[in-house]
């Protein structure tokens, strides 16, 4: 009864060719077919943001996409961020600000922020809160996350 679809998708720079069950959602494909388990799943309804990845540079909730929709696209996940043994500047900002506790939400915030940092726009703390409101965190109370993102965005803009 399964309906297999062949797809070609680039994940973190590596091209993957796979045959996927048509009803597999993209988060499950990343996690269970490609074994990239840094992308998490918290609701499968597009609410919690745990599954946020970049699709052609835009932050999207991968539980709302079916794996066949990834065909021909480029995906970036949290596994792409660290620079070998070192963390990247955004990850360091999260660590320094104690912006994570259990860490389950962290990939979602990191990928959302990665997309924000690329457009280089200046954002107030309030705007940052709004941008981050698509990802939930139940541990930190958000303040430290907002601080980490604010610092990172201003450093990324070179101020």
């Amino acid at each position: 009864m399964s309906d297999e679809v062949p797809i070609t998708v680039t994940v973190n720079g590596t091209v993957h060719r796979a045959s996927v069950d048509a009803r597999t959602h993209a988060a499950d494909f990343l996690r269970h077919t490609l074994h990239m388990t840094g992308t998490h799943v918290g609701c499968e309804q597009g609410v919690c943001g745990m599954c946020t990845v970049l699709l052609d540079g835009d932050a999207v909730k991968s539980c709302l996409l079916l794996a066949p929709q990834l065909d021909g696209h480029e995906i970036e996940t949290v596994e792409s961020l660290a620079d070998g043994d070192g963390l990247n500047a955004l990850q360091e900002a999260f660590r320094d600000a104690h912006a994570l506790q259990c860490g389950f939400c962290t990939p979602g915030f990191l990928m959302t922020t990665t997309a924000l940092a690329r457009d280089g726009r200046r954002r107030s703390r309030e705007e940052i809160r709004e941008e981050l409101s698509g990802v939930l965190c139940r541990c930190t109370g958000y303040e430290n996350i907002v601080t980490a993102v604010e610092r990172h965005l201003s450093e990324a803009r070179g101020v």
Binding site: G38, C43, Q45, H98, G103, F104, C137, G141, I145
Partner: protein, 793 residues
């Protein structure tokens, strides 16, 4: 790797009081955490669970034939299989005097809540397992259900468990000191109210999950589980599955939030194990969010009838709190909140008091532990009522609280339930909150309306919080199936570092970091040379687990002792290597052992460890090996405390309100790691604010079904929903704990509801608005405004 020799006077980093980079962060930031769903053994099967759609029904028949015929389905379990092969879930934290109303992993001929597991399927994929579950036909005959604790106690209510109970009251636990009835009768003023506390979910971002693997030849049931209590789960699995405990290996790697919801076993854990044992293949189950809302314990729902009597000067003569907690349909591993009784009188002096907890059964998802465990609930009732008393007496709420607060000189104080408040300066926190929020200024400028048309008010909420357990003997008296102690093993390795083994699993609280700090502090070794291994029952000493804000209180003592043992032996070996007669002349500093008075004479820890571990050249009198295991048994609980103040503005026409500022002053004793403490307080506040302002699991009283069991309609706070929070710390070391620590994990959840409710009532004091229930929604405020104006809402 270079051996850094530090100067004796330089302050060391990574010790108690410092905030070093967290041990946990590197892997989590890379997406390399190992959460329950991150590992799938080759050959694993996947489980799906059939759940009752009714709050209460008889099961007339179950037809599993179509499911069994499906390709890829390997096993189906129904109630009779489970009863034949396992025991009901055993209660770890029973209520004194209560009969067991526990349950099997699958329903036995009747269901008692919506979501109760009725059958389960193991199949080659989750998709197939879910499809097969849909093919299982259950013939239900719905019967009358009980929607809440008030209905449960109606004389004509159906008795939910007539086989064990005569009524829906599971047990009542009254505690009383003095003569509150006479004190109330003689008092100048008595205020009373009925307070409703909402049913909420702790809602960790990671749902529950398990991977169970059974190798009968290897005598091993290996379980990866998202849990706070691996060792307790191991004992429960042994009991429920009728296995020898030595066969069971539980691993809790990274846990994506827990908050009390991941204590002890759940039905699905047993089901996954039963499938794995029947099939001899690994079985995995990851709870989906829709299941979570019905299957993972709920929390808080309670009705408090609170009464306070005082004289004209506002001196409290007596308090009484008779409250019903909603246990739901069954008693799970932990059961409903038990700490409302312990802290009902708060930080106040009280000679005459009565508190009675009435644990009540209803037809809803079982209630379990959640951060705060009764303390937020009772705090709401008491602190709101205190403000009513202040208004009645025309006295400032600050003055009323200050007058009744225990002073540092009066501590330690045994409250009317026998709990001992160890130490602290409660009024210092109150006055700091009042000062910070600008209370007096607001009194001068009045409640408004301001230029924007809104009325403003300030609400206060003072609290004490029991952190940790007084002792194992105390728990034994309450039938507990766990002790108050914690344990740790520390073992030197040949790289010059220390492996620290703890049964405390990692779910965000930062224990890996804090434990390494304590070890570094006592031992003298560099923080980054300590590696923490957590949550694996085969590798760690037996322990209780992380809950009840007890970890640091109990574990710090174990760490202190184990470190002292290890240090003594390290120095002995070091003395031999350095040819020093008296090991007491040596110290461990970072990565070396050296002569304290002559730091240049040193030997690398790596060499000391190697000699000690290999034992090839050790002199007589020194046995090989360099490790220590220690247990610490607390002698007292430590009471954390504080006061929150909320500045609230209200639109008196619509009931819309804003928390414009929220000040939290608290004392957690000696701070092991200030950054972690701030994180715990802020995180707790977010949950406290969520429960106070927006979260509520709502049931349709007619159908008994959950109305908002998805993330789309259960509103946890987002980054935009948090009011500005200001934290103020005071620091009074507890005299009854190692290093003077107090627990901190639950503090933030306690004061929010009352502080904001009091702020709203203060803003609308001209109208005489009173609030008695949570959550505090604009609609609720609007209704109370209408009521106060005499308009039928």
């Amino acid at each position: 790797m270079s051996d850094v020799v530090e100067s004796p006077s330089a302050p060391r980093s990574g010790v108690i009081g410092d905030s070093p980079a967290r041990k946990e962060d590197d892997r989590l930031l890379r997406g390399e955490g190992r959460f329950a769903d991150d590992v799938t053994p080759a050959n694993a099967l996947h489980m799906a669970v059939v759940r009752s759609p009714f709050p209460r029904a008889r099961i007339e028949a179950i037809d599993i034939s179509a499911a069994l015929e499906m390709d890829g389905v390997h096993d189906v379990l129904v109630g009779t299989d489970v009863a034949a092969r396992s025991e009901p879930i055993n209660v770890l934290r029973p209520t004194p005097g209560a009969p067991y109303v526990t349950y099997y992993a699958l329903a036995q001929g009747r269901v008692e809540y919506e979501g109760q597991p009725v059958a389960s399927v193991a199949a080659t994929s989750r998709h197939i397992a879910e499809d097969a579950a849909e093919l299982i036909e259950v013939d239900y005959d719905p019967v009358e259900h009980v929607p809440d604790v008030i209905a449960a106690m109606e004389p004509d209510a159906p008795v939910l468990h007539p086989d064990v109970l005569d009524s829906n009251l599971l047990v009542s636990n009254p505690q009383s000191v003095g003569d509150s009835a006479s004190a109330i009768a003689a008092a100048d003023t008595v205020v009373s109210g009925r307070f409703f506390v909402n049913r909420v979910s702790g809602l960790p971002m990671e749902t529950r999950g398990i991977v169970a693997e059974w190798r009968p030849g290897g005598r091993e049931l290996s379980v990866r589980l998202s849990t706070q209590t691996p060792h307790l789960v191991r004992s429960q699995l042994a009991h429920c599955l009728r296995l020898d405990e030595s066969w069971i290996h539980v691993v809790a790697a990274d846990v994506g939030g827990a908050f009390g919801l991941k204590l002890g076993v759940y039905p699905e854990d047993l089901l996954a194990c039963l499938h794995a044992m029947a099939l001899r293949r690994p079985v995995k189950w990851i709870e989906d969010r829709l299941e979570f809302f019905r299957a993972t314990t709920h929390a808080r729902e309670a009705v408090h009838d609170f009464r306070i009597a005082a004289d004209r000067e506002g001196r409290i003569a007596a308090m009484e709190d008779v409250y019903a907690t909603d246990l739901g349909a069954y008693y799970g591993s932990f059961g409903s909140a038990q700490l409302s009784s312990v802290t009902y009188s708060g930080p106040y002096r009280l000679d005459h008091g009565t508190v009675e907890r009435r644990v009540t059964m209803t037809s809803k998802t079982p209630v379990g532990a959640y951060r705060g465990y009764g303390q937020p609930e009772v705090n709401f009732a008491r602190e709101v009522l205190l403000d009513r008393l202040a208004r009645r007496l025309e006295m400032s709420p600050v003055e009323l609280r200050r007058r009744n607060m225990l002073t540092p000189e009066e501590l330690p104080w045994r409250n009317t339930t026998g709990a001992v408040y160890d130490s602290g300066d409660y009024a210092e926190c109150l006055l700091a909150a009042v000062d910070r929020i600008g209370y007096d200024e607001l009194r001068r400028t009045g409640h408004g309306p301001r230029a924007d048309g809104r009325y403003v008010g300030v609400g206060l909420s003072s609290f004490v919080e029991r952190t940790g357990y007084a002792s194992s003997r105390f728990l034994a008296g309450r039938g507990s199936k766990f002790g108050a102690h914690e344990s740790v093993t520390v073992r030197a390795n040949r790289s010059g570092g220390i492996d620290l083994y703890t049964g405390v699993s990692t779910f965000g609280q930062g224990s890996e970091t804090a434990f390494a700090q304590v070890l570094s502090h006592v031992l003298g070794i560099a923080y980054d040379r300590v590696h923490v291994h957590a949550g694996d029952t085969s590798a760690t000493p037996l322990n209780t687990g992380a809950f009840a804000s007890r970890t640091m209180i109990a574990a710090a003592g174990a760490l202190e002792k184990a470190a002292a043992d290890l240090r003594a032996k390290t120095l002995k070996v070091g003395a031999w290597l350095l040819e020093v007669d008296d090991p007491d002349e040596l110290e461990i500093a970072g990565t070396v052992v050296r002569v304290a008075s002559d730091p240049a004479r040193s030997v690398a820890l790596r060499d000391v460890h190697e000699e000690a571990i290999l034992g090839l050249r050790l002199p007589e009198g020194i046995e090989p090996g360099l490790e220590a295991t220690a247990y610490h048994e607390p002698t007292h609980a430590a009471f954390a405390y504080g006061t929150a103040a909320a500045l609230v503005s209200v639109d008196a026409e619509t009931g819309d309100f804003d928390v414009e500022r929220f000040v939290m002053v608290h004392d957690s004793g000696t701070p092991v790691n200030p950054q972690l403490i701030d994180g715990q307080i802020r995180g707790g506040l977010a949950q406290g604010l969520g429960a106070a302002l927006r979260e509520e699991l709502r049931y349709d009283p007619e159908t008994g079904q959950l109305l908002n069991g998805t993330m789309l309609d259960y509103f946890v706070p987002t980054a935009c929903d948090m009011p500005p929070i200001e934290l103020v710390h005071t620091e009074v070391a507890s005299p009854v704990t190692p290093f003077g620590v107090r627990g901190v994990g639950e503090t933030g959840t306690i004061p929010a509801g009352a502080a904001i409710a009091n702020g709203i009532c203060d803003a609308l004091s001209g109208l005489g608005v009173e609030i008695s229930r949570l959550p505090l929604t604009p609609e609720l405020v609007w209704r109370e405004i209408q009521r106060a104006r005499g308009v039928p809402a």
